[in-house]
């Protein structure tokens, strides 16, 4: 919906998508303040659901990052401030060194998977709401970005 002018994107030949730089070029799209198409007020419901989606995704991201940092802090304090762990030696390496070398990656990957699943769920919920209220044509006013039209 933003900048790019859907009508200006040439219909891609089969199998290959020619993508022009979209909203980024100063000469592409209308100047600011002259929105194309209907005014936003026309679909209040869609706008409402969109704000809800953005807030949900931001909340999700912040919740993930805060809990991730909490786990990292906990792990760090444990491995650095518990002297007894130094005595635990596995294959010749003290446990704190092993935790530092390997312990953080499973945490990172676990948070990544949780986030990706939850973010996709937020989007499905948004889609269901938007399509239920406004019908498919109104659902994603602008998600059909021109360059995606031809992407498989």
């Amino acid at each position: 919906m933003s900048g790019p002018d859907p009508s200006s994107a040439p219909t891609p030949p089969a199998g290959r998508v020619r993508v022009r730089s979209t909203d980024a070029r100063p000469d592409a799209g209308p100047p600011s303040g002259t929105p194309r198409g209907r005014p936003e007020e026309a679909d209040d419901a869609a706008a409402h659901y969109t704000r809800g989606l953005v807030r949900a995704q931001l909340r999700l991201g912040l919740a993930c990052v805060v809990s991730f940092l909490a786990v990292v802090a906990l792990l760090t304090v444990t491995m650095s401030a518990v002297p007894a762990l130094d005595a635990v030696v596995i294959l010749g390496v003290p446990l704190p060194w092993l935790v530092h070398a390997y312990g953080f990656y499973p945490v990172i990957v676990a948070f990544a998977v949780v986030f990706a699943v939850a973010a996709a769920r937020n989007e499905r919920r948004y889609r269901a709401l938007a399509e239920g209220s406004a019908g498919p044509a109104e659902a994603g006013p602008d998600e059909a970005v021109p360059d995606e039209a031809g992407a498989p």
Partner: protein, 507 residues
């Protein structure tokens, strides 16, 4: 000196050239050049992203730094991986949906300001060039350890190959090249690691002798997690976490995913891939502390991965493994440099020449020559810390604006420009002042460690500036945006909706 490593480098270059050429045959349009037509599949794309993210810093530098200074080195790969987690949480999907080619494209589309675009372009170029320099230094380091040639041969060689491949094939061929190079890099560390561990377990000794060592001497408490400095650790982690978001070659990669959801899935796969690689590289660092304490000197430590196989695995096997490591190291230099040069050439050609394929090619050459010149006149520092410095700068200069641009509708062009200027100037000043102090003998080395009081605090703040430059830059962006009477651009809401609303599924 064995010729095997040179043969390995030759084979790697040949394979890179062939794959690049194959890419050339199928990249014909402008968008093939810039974003591989946005049709790259998640696994391919994830291999390519990992291939360019894993640089000389973690291939050679990580084990070198573990050997040199102990467990604090592990913060770098942990921070790089966690930085990717932040990319996933806050920018992967939205930036893919923005539809822009480069970070400056995104900033201009978001803020409707050519000035903000130009400032962003300059910062992207500085960050990219700074990031290429350690790769070229790494090439110089490796080439001198495998052949009797002057160091510049390695740097110039990498620069020539990178500019040729990028100019010839653009993003599409680079995607294949980097995906290939990721697997080369992983194999080149994992396979030698297996043999090295077998050797440590006694597999190659007639009597099955197991290497014996005193854990408290090899892994002393003070060099381990027990000795960490709270301020330096927090500041470094903050920089690494946020810095990834501001790296030009990381963001440009999301534009090659078909949609926002696949950009997220790709990022999860990338996190798994780079985590595996970092664990392998970290293990080599631990092994290095056991078997190669004699190499624990600045400048030499970064070559430890190259010497481990021949030290532990006897005969031809060891030499073949060493040659494989050398090939992997060159894959690291090539992968990261070519990804950066693609991103930078995209910026230069779009900003200065209207984004044609011809200008992209010339920009690619120019964007390789500038860091090459810089690499040839500077002295290599520790590889992993050089790369870390780039993260500090990116986190201070660009990341606040990108994150706020995606999530805060109140951001204005003036706020963004002010924040980028404040962040980059503060960070650059701190880092330059810190290295001047080190050069003047007030370093953080053995003598500096005992310093305390105000001087010690100032030195710590300058050496790891992220903890104060990032908040100051962010505050500047917010305050100036709020005071800006012009307010955010009128089409902000529409643009933000485009960033966050999922694409229509084709049914």
């Amino acid at each position: 000196m064995s010729a095997l490593p040179l043969v390995a480098i030759g084979l790697l270059l040949l394979a890179t050239g062939l794959i690049g050429f194959y890419g050339l045959r199928i990249s014909r349009t402008t968008s093939d050049f810039f974003v591989a037509s946005r049709t790259v599949r998640p696994v391919w794309n994830a291999s390519a992203i990992s291939g360019e993210y894993l640089s000389a810093g973690t291939f050679l530098g990580l084990s070198g730094l573990v050997l040199l200074s102990g467990a604090e080195a592990f913060w770098f790969p942990v921070g790089y991986a966690a930085g990717y987690l932040l990319v996933l949480l806050f920018v992967a999907g939205p930036l893919r949906r923005s539809g822009a080619y480069t970070i400056p494209d995104f900033v201009q589309a978001r803020l409707d300001s050519v000035v903000a675009r130009r400032v962003t372009s300059v910062l992207v170029l500085v960050i990219g060039w700074l990031y290429v320099v350690p790769q070229l230094h790494g090439a110089a380091l490796v080439i001198t350890s495998v052949a009797p040639v002057p160091p510049w041969v390695g740097s110039v060689g990498i620069a020539v190959v990178v500019s040729a491949v990028v100019a010839a094939g653009g993003m599409r061929s680079i995607t294949f090249v980097q995906a290939f190079q990721f697997w080369v890099k992983l194999t080149a560390l994992a396979l030698p690691l297996v043999f090295v561990l077998m050797a440590l377990g006694g597999a190659f000794e007639p009597g099955g002798a197991i290497v014996t060592f005193d854990p408290t001497a090899v892994f002393p408490h003070d060099a381990g997690p027990g000795g960490l400095d709270a301020y330096a650790t927090v500041s470094l982690l903050l920089a690494l976490l946020l810095g990834t978001t501001g790296l030009p070659h990381v963001l440009v990669r999301f534009y090659t995913s078909p949609d926002g959801g696949s950009a997220r899935r790709t990022t999860v796969v990338v996190l798994v891939m780079i985590s595996v690689f970092y664990m392998v590289s970290s293990t080599l660092g631990l092994v290095a502390r056991v078997v190669a304490p004699d190499l624990a000197e600045p400048g030499v430590a970064d070559t430890v991965v190259l010497t481990l196989p021949t030290r532990l695995v006897p005969g031809l096997g060891g030499e073949l493994l060493a040659a494989l490591v050398v090939a992997g190291a060159f894959a690291a230099f090539l992968g990261t440099s070519s990804g950066l040069v693609v991103a930078l050439a995209g910026v230069v050609s779009q900003d200065l020449f209207g984004g044609t394929v011809r200008s992209f090619r010339w920009s690619a050459v120019a964007c390789t020559l500038i860091p090459l010149a810089f690499a040839l006149v500077t002295i290599p520092q520790g590889l992993v810390t050089s790369v870390g410095t780039v993260f500090v700068f990116a986190a201070s200069a660009l990341s606040p604006v990108i994150l706020l641009g995606v999530w805060w509708r109140g951001l204005t062009a003036r706020g963004a420009v002010a924040g980028m200027v404040v962040g980059s100037v503060l960070c650059a000043t701190a880092l330059l002042a810190s290295s001047a102090l080190v050069a003047a003998g007030y370093g953080t080395g053995s003598s500096g460690a005992t310093a305390d009081g105000v001087a010690g605090v100032v030195r710590a703040l300058l050496a790891q500036p992220a903890a104060w430059t990032i908040p100051l830059a962010t505050a500047t962006v917010v305050v100036v945006s709020l005071l800006d009477r012009h307010g955010p651009p009128l089409r902000t809401d529409r643009f933000l909706r485009r960033l966050h609303v999922p694409e229509l599924r084709r049914r």
